[in-house]
């Protein structure tokens, strides 16, 4: 093990200690969310109704505003929608963090804590936070309406790959039947 590993380990240790000390100082007198919140399984949806979310990302409103023929209004509308969409992603990310906090609070007192289950939940949580990050960047770059366009394009690509795979399997099956 060389100097670089040693210095890296030491730096990581110092950073972790500083972050930990800061968080323990901040959390003094600030308890976790109440345990009752665990029972609220619709917590994420409670932030913003599903229909509203669909509306933020829908193209229909943009098409209507574009039809009015005012570029200024259209630009303003797009900016507003983008801000709302970005706020929604941040809010959802914070709510997911809340779910994780509630889980950690509840599970840390359990005597039968399982490493594999905890790791699985942590991975799932990491994946969701990553998804939020990707959504945030995509919305910031392409706008909420553009996001659906991107998704549609990705779907189309996936569909084409699936079709190609099916075609390949079909060709293989045909070859096997004919003894090729």
């Amino acid at each position: 093990m060389g100097i670089s590993i040693a210095v890296l380990a030491a730096v990581l240790l110092f950073v972790a200690i500083v972050v930990w000390v800061k968080s323990t100082m901040a959390e003094q007198g600030q308890p976790f969310a109440s345990g009752a919140s665990l029972k609220r399984e619709d917590e994420v949806e409670a932030g913003c109704p599903a229909q509203f979310v669909t509306q933020i990302f829908a193209k229909k409103d943009l098409e209507y505003v574009s039809g009015l023929g005012s570029p200024h209004l259209e630009k303003f509308f797009q900016q507003e929608r983008k801000s709302v969409a970005l706020f929604w992603v941040q809010q959802t990310s914070a709510q997911i963090r809340g779910i994780m906090r509630a889980h950690l609070q509840a599970s840390r007192g359990s005597s039968d804590l399982e490493l594999s289950t905890e790791a699985g939940i942590l991975l799932r949580y990491g994946g969701l936070q990553l998804l939020c990050g990707v959504l945030f960047v995509s919305i910031a770059l392409a706008g909420p309406q553009g996001l659906q366009g991107l998704a549609a394009r990705a779907d189309a690509w996936a569909q084409r790959i699936r079709e190609a795979q099916l075609g390949f399997h079909a060709a293989k099956e045909t070859g096997r039947i004919h003894g090729v």
Binding site: M1, Q28, S107
Partner: protein, 252 residues
């Protein structure tokens, strides 16, 4: 002269901490930490005596006591887990496994390094201590991550013990890494880094272990929360719901 100042000031601080431990009844709450501190104090005194009257034995005494100190340091980590996680049996089990793994890794590493390079024993000792300290630093890092993740509340005393020991181990790792490559005589700064880091740790301990401060009591969890399988299932369900909710944005 500077080394004498460092030597005597660390002895004075250790005595001071031990006096405070008995006056403030801290020793009863953190027995292993104070045994460690007593060990380091006796180690300092023994080294001083040998250095003064039997200098040819100094190397042997230094490295023997140094490794015993490293093992005693591992015991301090176990004590931090024992006290801080007393109310969290599941998390305590995770932490104990983590510490045992770190301890076994450190010992294996030490044994392998010693058998590989036994003929250059001082260089081997430096490399050995460096490797063991790196494993120790990584174990402390993993423990701090665990405490951070589960937001384990820490009292002032325990926080001080962990900060001081973490600081000492971190700086020792840096010092030993450079010494193993450049040699101890190449830089006075490097030669003094470990003792100075230990004095820093002692100062942190004096500040945090002045009087006994109990660890914050955890809030009593609901009976529902005690059943881990249900808690995990509920979290998985909620995270799945969150995923579905996010996907609605892309696929209405």
């Amino acid at each position: 002269m500077l080394s004498q100042i460092i030597w005597w000031s660390s002895i004075a601080l250790e005595i001071f901490l031990l006096v405070r431990a008995f006056r403030g009844r801290l020793a009863a709450h953190y027995p292993i930490f104070y045994i460690y501190l007593s060990f380091v104090l006796s180690q300092d005194l023994l080294r001083f005596v040998v250095y003064r009257w039997e200098p040819r034995l100094y190397s042997t005494v230094y490295w023997t006591t140094e490794f015993l100190g490293v093992i005693a340091g591992c015991a301090v980590m176990f004590e931090i887990c024992r006290v801080s996680l007393a109310a969290y049996p599941g998390t305590a089990r995770l932490a104990r496994n983590l510490l045992t793994l770190g301890f076994v890794l450190a010992c294996t590493n030490a044994a392998v390094a010693a058998s590989n390079d036994a003929h250059r024993w001082i260089a081997t000792c430096v490399n050995l201590e460096r490797d063991v300290r790196i494993v120790q630093a990584l174990t402390i890092l993993a423990l701090v991550a665990l405490f951070l993740l589960y937001a384990i509340p820490f009292g002032r005393n325990l926080r001080g013990i962990l900060i001081g020991y973490g600081l000492f181990v971190g700086l020792s790792v840096v010092q030993l890494a450079f010494v193993s490559v450049m040699g101890n005589v190449s830089s006075k700064f490097l030669a003094y880094l470990q003792p100075v880091s230990y004095i820093l740790a002692l100062c942190v301990w004096v500040g945090h272990l002045w009087a006994y401060r109990s660890n914050p009591e955890p809030e009593r969890a609901f009976a529902f929360e005690q059943q881990y399988a249900r808690v995990a299932a509920a979290t998985r369900y909620r995270l799945r719901a969150a995923r579905g909710y996010l996907e609605k944005a892309v696929h209405p």
